[in-house]
């Protein structure tokens, strides 16, 4: 039984399994029909914006079907934002469970990000299925590119969330600043506004934002004849991914005690 110490890997996998089930319970069933609202919220949000822009404004954006342009961009943006927010508050939301020394804040962060990815995949499939029924071209022209870039946005969400949660634990005031940063990110990342239409030199400034690269690349992956902003690059996005995840992990290693205690 317990007489032989479990090896660290099996401890970690059992902790991940336990947190995953606990988080999934909390997210999907903490109130009546919570799972329904979790999926329907992005569907309604994206559906409404996509409808308004494609029906009232324009039919195409830079050669791409507006409906798909908006839908894909928003899904990619939500993947980043929801993952980062889940990771940011991972330690806060699981505080009582750190009483078990096997459970570390990093476990909670990773598992929460994985759960969020799963939920976003479900939401994405649902939204694309609805779009297909409405007669839009939903199959990506370059599926590998889409997967690769979506993975990058997800990982950047993790990196950002890790760094942000340590900053918030060390200096509580940063929470306000990070929230202020998140708000305009929706606009400056080109979720509802094509960055192509921004004049120089301002466009170059906006393209420092790795999320903007991610969104443009995902759209390009969906529509091969889409005119993306010149200079978008997967490598740039992944440079941010590597940097932020590495920094986040270093900070977690160094300050894990401050994350647990309040």
């Amino acid at each position: 039984m317990l007489n032989t110490a479990r090896n660290p890997l099996s401890v970690t996998t059992s902790v991940w399994q336990a947190i995953f089930l606990r988080e999934a319970l909390d997210r999907l069933f903490d109130m009546r029909g919570a799972w329904f609202w979790l999926l329907i919220e992005p569907v309604l949000h994206i559906g409404f914006i996509a409808f308004v822009f494609s029906a009232i404004r324009v039919r195409t954006v830079a050669n791409s079907d507006t409906f798909i342009w908006i839908t894909v961009g928003m899904l990619a943006f939500f993947l980043f934002r929801r993952t980062s927010i889940q990771v940011m508050y991972a330690a806060d939301c699981n505080r009582p469970l750190f009483a078990y020394r096997q459970v570390k804040p990093f476990d909670a962060a990773i598992v929460r990000a994985a759960l969020e990815a799963l939920l976003m995949i479900l939401a994405t499939m649902m939204i694309l299925a609805i779009s297909a029924l409405l007669g839009h071209e939903v199959l990506p022209a370059d599926p590998l590119m889409v997967v690769w870039v979506a993975l990058g946005l997800w990982l950047f969400g993790i990196g950002y969330g890790l760094v942000a949660s340590v900053l918030m634990a060390l200096v509580p005031e940063t929470e306000h600043i990070l929230k202020l940063l998140m708000m305009p990110l929706y606009l400056v990342s080109g979720v509802v506004w094509p960055l192509m239409s921004i004049p120089q030199p301002y466009r170059d400034v906006l393209m420092f934002n790795p999320v903007a690269h991610g969104l443009e690349l995902v759209r390009q992956g969906f529509t091969s004849y889409y005119h993306a902003v010149p200079g978008v690059s997967v490598a740039y996005l992944y440079a941010w991914v590597v940097g932020s995840v590495f920094l986040g992990m270093v900070l977690y290693r160094r300050f894990s005690r401050q994350l647990v205690m309040k």
Binding site: A18, P96, L97, A99
Partner: protein, 220 residues
């Protein structure tokens, strides 16, 4: 055996680094002995339990657990939005008991005597019910040393007796380190005692001596 070697601990406060809570503590706590931690409020009893339980690290020095040590009962460990059963499942899974989950859950439900409340959210529990659940949870696993931080205080007399009997029955197998303020409880559960006073820790082979030494500190 738990070895506490020259442990110093202080916390970071809003006004910079706080004062030393524990100041150069050396202890060797054997298995199969029930030990009571005694000291005034804020003396550092819970801090020491957290260090022993491995959920916090000493500022200086080290703590070595040479046997299986439970988590500190009574310091968190229950998620309010989940039911007692869901919390129990979480703890079983964390400790690698996915396979015999049903047996453990059965034991926890029986021992805690929560009945239907076992399937209600923990946030609706009274403090007594919480401590019953916490006690049952840790007894569901075979630890060599159990750590308890005031869990027994909230339970009623019959539950306290049941818990004391449970520990008496496994005295050959496992030990207990507990914090309690009630002298009767300490005498009921413990043989040896540790007095924490002024950042230091003092070992007594008999709990009565420890309690006496504790009372002597009042006059100073």
């Amino acid at each position: 055996m738990i070895v506490v070697e020259d442990v110093y601990k202080r916390y970071r406060t809003e006004h910079g680094v706080g004062k030393w809570v524990l100041h150069g503590i050396n202890l060797e706590i054997p298995r199969q002995l029930n030990v009571g931690l005694i000291g005034a409020n804020g003396a550092g009893k819970s801090t020491l339990l957290r260090l022993i339980g491995g959920i916090d690290e000493p500022t200086k020095g080290r703590v070595e657990r040479r046997c299986r040590v439970s988590w500190p009962m009574g310091q968190g460990g229950l998620e309010g939005t989940l039911t007692g059963r869901q919390n129990a499942k979480f703890v079983c899974r964390v400790h690698g008991h996915q396979d015999d989950l049903a047996d453990r859950l059965g034991f926890i439900k029986d021992f805690s005597e929560l009945r239907d409340a076992f399937d209600e959210p923990v946030s609706t529990y009274s403090s007594g019910m919480r401590s019953r659940l916490q006690f049952a949870l840790s007894l569901a696993f075979d630890f060599d040393i159990y750590i308890s931080d005031e869990v027994t205080a909230a339970g009623d007399a019959s539950f306290r007796k049941k818990a004391a009997d449970a520990f008496a029955s496994m005295v050959t197998r496992a030990g207990l380190i507990m914090v309690a303020h009630d002298e009767g409880t300490l005498k009921q559960f413990c043989q040896a005692g540790i007095l924490i006073f002024d950042g230091g820790a003092y070992w007594f082979d008999a709990i009565d001596d420890a309690l006496k030494a504790y009372e002597d500190t009042f006059s100073k």
